[in-house]
């Protein structure tokens, strides 16, 4: 494995796992789009750091991004408290205005006579191939701090993610905890900016958490899974984009991550949409069968023989347009028979079963007193 490739893989594992893990708290606290705003807000921070230091020094750029991203988060919370504006409008303002200002600075930097090709453009869509060992160190140190803080404040963060009112009634300083958590999310986002880019970094915060949520109901498992999904898509995305020239890394990572989300949404055993549809289909089939049984039993009440057969048109006239299919299923179960005239009736076993359904639906008393009553 080449040296560059090792760095790229290590870097993407780092950023994917940290962003994924911290993203869980953002998603659970319904602050998913905060990440979008912070990531966009970081762009002017990177530019300002470049303007001040005059060089592409990764520590400085990251610091600039953290400070300005953090400023965006602070403005968000102040404006939310002080106005009646809807939160998403404020998010949109911060996101677009900071980004616009970032563009102003970016174009300004590009036109500076002194600056060689600054390469700050790569921060828009990300480029894993520009990762250096020095970047890796910065990412590693910051990432470790974030993860250690998350583990230290695990109980507190868990509490404010699910029940802030309870947390403050227990005497926790919810405001301070929220601030710390937001700070950690800012750092987690900034770590990924160079590789994923400011435009799509938010997806790497939201998507792993959403995917992980589908597989578990436990926060600890969710955080670990999200970190895992994040790093897998980071590595896959970085590798794919380095195989195909000209493609920025960020979009590829997002596509890989989205595929994981789609698989999770549809196929996770716990909440998968496919399984839900299957369950719904099975339940409906069972209910139709029970209805058919019950209806045949009701119709037979007018005859001495409870196994008396009726034409399917009687059932269909009652609105049971699905009657044929469920009657056929019941024949296979041995609860219903079809006679030579093509009429359908209950078998002995079917009568017992239908009686059970009737009791379950109408209560024992009513069934005994007035069996033909619907």
């Amino acid at each position: 494995m080449s040296y560059t490739l090792t760095i790229v893989i290590l870097g993407t594992i780092l950023l994917g796992s940290v962003a994924g893990a911290l993203g869980c708290f953002a998603v659970l606290r319904k602050q998913s789009l905060l990440g979008d705003a912070i990531a966009h807000a970081a762009l002017p921070g990177i530019c300002i750091a470049f303007l001040i230091t005059g060089a592409k020094h990764s520590t400085m750029l990251v610091l600039g991004a953290i400070i300005v991203g953090w400023l965006g988060a602070i403005i968000l919370s102040i404006v939310t408290q002080q106005t009646t504006l809807k939160k998403d409008a404020i998010l949109g303002i911060i996101l677009s205005v900071f980004f616009g200002f970032g563009l102003v600075l970016l174009t300004y930097i590009q036109r500076l006579a002194t600056s060689q090709k600054s390469g700050l453009n790569q921060y828009l869509f990300g480029s894993a191939s520009t990762l250096l060992k020095a970047d890796l160190w910065v990412m590693g140190v910051l990432g470790s701090i974030v993860v250690i803080m998350m583990i230290l404040f695990w109980k507190e963060f868990k509490l404010i993610s699910f029940d802030t009112a309870y947390a403050s009634s227990l005497g926790y300083r919810v405001k301070t905890l929220e601030t710390v958590l937001t700070m950690l999310i800012v750092v987690a986002i900034v770590i990924g900016l160079q590789t994923v880019g400011v435009v799509l970094m938010s997806a790497l915060v939201i998507a792993p958490a959403v995917a992980a949520r589908q597989w578990t109901d436990r926060l600890s498992v969710m955080v670990i899974l999200a970190g895992f999904f994040g790093s897998i898509s980071g590595v896959m995305g970085a590798l794919l984009s380095s195989f195909f020239y000209q493609i920025p890394t960020g979009p590829v990572i997002v596509v890989v991550m989205s595929i994981i989300v789609i698989i999770s949404l549809f196929l996770s055993p716990l909440r998968g949409i496919v399984w839900e549809k299957v369950r719904q289909y099975r339940n409906r089939k069972l209910i139709y069968q029970k209805k058919s049984l019950y209806q045949l039993w009701l119709l037979a009440q007018n005859h001495d023989d409870l196994t008396y057969a009726h034409s399917i048109t009687t059932l269909e006239a009652l609105g049971f347009h699905w009657a044929l299919a469920s009657l056929q299923q019941l024949v296979q179960k041995g609860l219903v028979y079809k006679n030579k005239q093509g009429h359908w009736g209950l078998t002995q076993q079917g009568v017992t079963e239908a009686q059970r359904v009737a009791v379950a639906w109408r209560g024992e008393e009513l069934v005994k007193e007035r069996p033909d009553y619907d």
Binding site: H40, A89, I90, F101, A207, G250
Partner: protein, 368 residues
């Protein structure tokens, strides 16, 4: 001449964005404009691969459909109850946008579409793309396109103003009046999509968001009526566009970025100085109320000790500062206000009620 055309395009684009933006902000779906603006890019790329040109009407239609598709997909995700609203928005559009950027960088980087232009757009180049019929020049294409979209937006919002208003402020009432909230919602989303598609060329996807959300949000801080908000947002938008273009031409920086920055500055100004809801205004009101309340408190205190032996000690400025734990400054403000209202007399550090002040104090006693 080119500068005037740039300003013209900027103003028309801003107005076209602001009109649907007002309703997006009021309905709490402002970030849908972000999602739509990003997703239409995939529509733009898709149509481009199909018809290989950027100028057919099919182009706007196809790309707008992508915006509406994003909205419905996001809502489907929310309705599936597996993903919360904010997360759902943040899942769908990054995917579409990512696919679009990949397609552009892989297959279309040599043509007009490149991923930078998509994000920022460049009004500076718009005047060079002109409408020329029979050899005569009819001005920049972008001006006609955005002018058309502005006209369409004004027409639709003008026609359905009442319906939009009712369904925005009271969805229940709207339904009972026979106005379908779904049709209104998707109608607005379609307008947003069409506008985003038209504007991407000149201002880029993210600046569409700045123009759609920021001027209406600023107007929201200032005015209380819908019509006022529409007019105020248009005014703020146009001002921001003009200032933004001037600054950017002067400093040779991104025009769209500069306009977005100016809208942000206007928002900050509105946030601080808005007549009723501004931070500064509210700060002043609170201060004023504090002084006025303290004065009434002081009057009651003076009345209680008036004519008693303790009057000499109690009814002095020094004692008030001591007892009520007021700061020197507050005490000064309070006494000055009392004197100016002719409720108090201030002599050598001692305070006396005037007859008017006594009346006020008695009334306040009852209220306390």
């Amino acid at each position: 001449m080119i500068e005037i055309e740039i300003i013209g395009i900027a103003i028309v684009t801003t107005l076209a964005c602001v009109l649907p933006g007002v309703f997006l902000v009021l309905r709490g779906v402002a970030l849908m404009s972000d999602a739509i603006a990003h997703s239409t890019l995939l529509g733009i790329v898709g149509v481009f691969f199909l018809v290989h040109q950027l100028e057919s009407p099919l182009f706007i239609l196809g790309a707008s459909l992508m915006g509406v598709l994003t909205v419905s997909l996001t809502e489907w995700l929310i309705n599936s109850k597996r993903v919360k609203k904010d997360a759902a928005i943040g899942l769908v559009f990054p995917l579409f946008f990512a696919i679009a950027v990949i397609l552009i960088s892989k297959y279309a980087s040599h043509i007009h579409l490149n991923s930078d232009a998509v994000l920022f757009g460049e009004i500076a180049f718009a005047p060079f793309d002109r409408v020329i019929l029979n050899g005569s020049d009819f001005g920049p294409k972008a001006l006609w396109l955005m002018g058309g979209i502005l006209g369409f937006n004004s027409l639709m919002i003008g026609l359905f103003y009442k319906e939009l208003k009712v369904s925005t402020f009271d969805a229940g009432l709207a339904t009972s009046l026979g106005i379908s909230p779904t049709i209104m919602h998707y109608g607005l989303m379609s307008l947003t999509s069409i506008t985003a598609v038209g504007a991407f060329d000149s201002v880029g996807s993210i600046l569409v968001v700045a123009l759609m959300i920021t001027p209406p949000a600023t107007a929201y801080l200032i005015t209380n009526s819908l019509s006022g908000m529409v007019m105020m947002s248009c005014f703020i938008g146009v001002m921001a566009a003009m200032v933004g273009v001037f600054v950017s031409l002067y400093m040779d920086i991104s025009i769209a970025g500069s306009i977005a920055t100016v809208t942000g500055i206007f928002f900050m100004l509105g946030l601080i100085f808005a007549p009723r809801r501004g931070l500064l205004t509210r700060l002043l009101v609170v201060k004023k109320q504090r002084i006025s309340f303290s004065l009434r408190l002081l009057l009651v205190q003076l009345l209680a000790h008036e004519g008693k032996a303790s009057e000499l000690i109690e009814n002095t400025v020094a004692n008030i500062i001591n007892h009520m734990r007021w700061s020197n400054k507050l005490a000064q403000h309070v006494v000055r206000l009392g004197v100016s209202k002719d409720w108090l007399r201030h002599q050598n550090g001692r305070l006396f009620l005037t007859s008017l002040g006594r009346e006020v104090a008695k009334r306040e006693m009852v209220r306390f």
